[in-house]
Symmetry: C2
Subunit: 291 residues, 2 copies
């Protein structure tokens, strides 16, 4: 059996009992590399499982899937991923490959940012499509995400914005010389994300992301653990807050849609940088009936 | 501490280790009633935890929250819910109440239908808002869900349709006589859901849910367990399939949006009632470039 096992969002104790059983019974256990550079440390997982883990970066999962799947028709093999196997990064390719090799596959689900984002107090069923925001460079500022946010906003829906992660990047020199030396990983911060959003708003001017009248909620290390931070405010307020407000990566951002319920406002109020502007904008701009 | 703990989707082994620790350390453990009538049996959970569970129906969670929260500032109390605490049914009220009583709250996340729906092969980030479909009666056929599906469809997005559950319903006679006798629980089936969708399409005629050219995916007991069923086809095909095709409740339905990727088609093809029509409609109506 080939297992793809979601690890959840915080630490080694977020695996399910079903997942842990599969890990313990597997002859090889792969850990998708995004995992090991995040909250969940490889060594900590290994100590917890009493088992060696083989690190598999995205490349390996995509191009060396036959090695990962080797003998999985005769013995159990597991691939561990942060969040849920069908989270932001999907594992369609390797499942299709397993199928074509007649290897039975089982998915062990867990929480991912796609549902744990509910922790910010906004109703999940009012979220529209999810958007990814990549690091802008001097010369490359792809802004199609803006159209997606606008599509959601025009219908009154919230948008979850996933922020870019750069791992295994090579400097131009190392790339040119074919040296497999990688830069340290980079994670987009809330401050950088909001700065990019407002930069595009300035160009587009549709008002979708008007800095003083768009509410947003920043999430860091969401998952119910002690490092979770949730911070709400206008885009202007989020941009002005000191970076340490948001804690350690990963960060995600939610753009609040106009179909906002007063209970959502009330729930998120405790996360607000400034409760007065939070309620004021919710009333005045979003039309929420608050006391 | 007051814990709200997601149980995941299948059985008692889908709780996380973090969740299990909290249950074991709690002096009172409540089980939200939706749970006990579904896949996860109360008695089975009690045996597994070695602990008695107090069943709390939705009414109790909403109106007797102070009893549930009693002493949670001095000892640990847990509320168990199917899926994730921020799934389709949210727990905003009781968290706000805990806050106002200065009781610290911790959420223990898990998979819910909102992210496990990825198992059908469609990308989660291409889903729009989620829609609920209630049982039609002779005289009451609320159809605003249709506008929501159309909003998503017009943007090319997929729609997750959550199907109605009726628990603790009283017959008109029992209600009139004030007898607390409840009818057996009812769960909307895929067949009934598709029949309601096409009934509204016939009235509205926008083509959003055209029976022969709209693709949909039915999910039953999703969560990676042995009872999971995923079935794909046109609305016409899903309606014509024998009810047993879909297995036991709960059922959910996904309406496939036009922003469909060929990998999504390929992945879901193995769930198709008829692979030929599945691929044909994907190509012809959805414009997917397939081999």
């Amino acid at each position: 059996m080939f297992y793809i096992i979601g690890l959840g969002l915080c630490d080694e104790r977020d695996i399910t009992l079903r997942g842990l059983e599969a890990v313990k019974g597997s002859s090889r256990v792969y850990l998708e590399a995004y995992t090991s550079i995040l909250m969940i440390q490889k060594e900590r997982l290994e100590a917890f499982y009493g088992k060696e883990l083989i690190v598999a970066d995205r490349d390996m999962v995509e191009t060396e899937s036959d090695e990962i799947l080797r003998n999985a028709d005769k013995e159990d093999v597991s691939l561990l991923v942060v969040g849920d196997p069908y989270g932001a990064t999907t594992h369609t390719d390797i499942v299709l490959r397993a199928r074509s090799l007649n290897i039975p596959t089982r998915i062990i689900h867990n929480a991912s940012i796609m549902n744990a984002v509910g922790a910010c107090g906004l109703q999940l069923y009012n979220f529209g499509q999810t958007v990814s925001l990549v690091f802008f460079t001097e010369t490359w500022k792809p802004d199609s995400f803006y159209d997606r946010i606008k599509e959601n906003a025009d219908l009154g829906m919230h948008t979850l914005v996933l922020l870019d992660i750069k791992v295994k990047e090579q400097s131009e020199e190392n790339l040119a010389r074919g040296r497999k030396i990688y830069e340290p990983p980079r994670y987009m911060s809330i401050t950088q994300a909001v700065s990019q959003l407002t930069e595009v708003e300035e160009k587009r001017q549709s008002g979708t992301l008007a800095p003083d009248s768009t509410l947003a909620i920043a999430l860091s290390r969401v998952g119910g653990g002690p490092e979770e931070r949730i911070v709400a405010g206008t885009l202007t307020e989020l941009l002005a807050a000191p970076p340490e407000t948001y804690g350690e990566p990963l960060h995600s951002l939610v753009i609040v849609g106009k179909r906002l319920h007063h209970l959502e406002v009330e729930y998120a109020e405790s996360f607000a940088l400034n409760r007065e502007t939070w309620k004021d904008v919710a009333k005045r701009v979003y039309g929420c009936a608050l006391d």
